[in-house]
């Protein structure tokens, strides 16, 4: 895979570590940006011209993953966004569908992350 950039946003450090380890294994050339919440993600992406893949948690301190996705989608219309969450309610899945972003149920596994990265 080409050299691309992935943004990982999750308030759980353990989750970020697990996702990061899988991305580094599957796409070792990729640039990884980590953020612990929505504000952190927006701050860290300010100067980044292109982000190819975004993996966003839903329940986080401050704005939730869907609100963050709306903002990021506008700024990076080409990016492939996925909600990766333990909140697997149908209503949340419908909102993600409506927004045109992926919905992936936690727990984090190599197959799920690989699936997200494959389409980038």
């Amino acid at each position: 895979m080409d050299n691309k950039t992935v943004l990982i946003v999750d308030d759980s450090r353990v989750s970020r570590m697990m996702i990061k380890a899988i991305v580094a294994d599957v796409c070792p050339e990729w640039n990884i940006i980590e953020a612990a919440n929505g504000d952190d993600a927006l701050a860290k992406s300010t100067d980044i011209q292109a982000i190819d893949v975004m993996i966003l948690d839903f329940n986080m301190p401050g704005m939730n993953g869907l609100t963050l996705a709306e903002i990021l989608k506008e700024k990076y219309p080409q990016a492939q966004l996925s909600l990766l969450t333990a909140n697997i309610q149908e209503s949340i899945q419908r909102k993600a569908d409506k927004l045109g972003i992926g919905f992936v149920k936690k727990p984090i596994t190599q197959e799920k992350i690989r699936g997200i990265l494959t389409y980038a």
Binding site: D11, M18, N87, E90, S91, K106, P107
Partner: protein, 212 residues
Amino acid sequence: MPEELKILNDLQLDALAEVFNLGMGNAAASLSEMVGEEVELTVPEICFVNKEDAIKLLSEQASGDVSSVSQGFSGPLGGMAMLMFPIDKSLEIVRLLLEDTVSLDKLTEFEEEALCEIGNIILNSGLSSLADVFGQEMQSTLPIFSQGSCDDVMNTKSVNEKRIDIVMFLRVEFSIEKHATAGHVVYLLDVNSTKNLTKNIDCYLKKLSIAV
């Protein structure tokens, strides 16, 4: 034996147990994916008791101090969901989760956060099943970790901030067979939830065309 509170009739209780059976089945599948081991699940048994009796029941079953993850929830029902593991087994669960990511000597450093993530996934499975069956959305707070006796973890500041009326004591054991580890899940319901629970279960039964 603690006094069981008669909140639901047998049919309502059966419907609720089925909803949680589905939710906990999803939770067990998730836990199995996380730890890479087969997870056995007992059929959820539900009873309603007051908080003091819930602590007694848990203390009898947990046989010792526990690691607990709690998450507040609101929506059609409000209160606090809690997952508890025996304290002496929690590091083993963390090891199963993180053995490919973190070196053994650093496991303790990640124990709290890893258990919060496990709790987040298991508790949300149960809450999501309830929300889907009720056709409504539920919100949950971020997971909070605590350790101590059952009495300690059921009386933390975050739990006591909720105006808990009754405890929906969902006794479900997750057994990670090779490691002889079991966990318990309880839902503490606030004062406004009892009526809503009955109302929502009746709506669910009506949708299924089952006379209440």
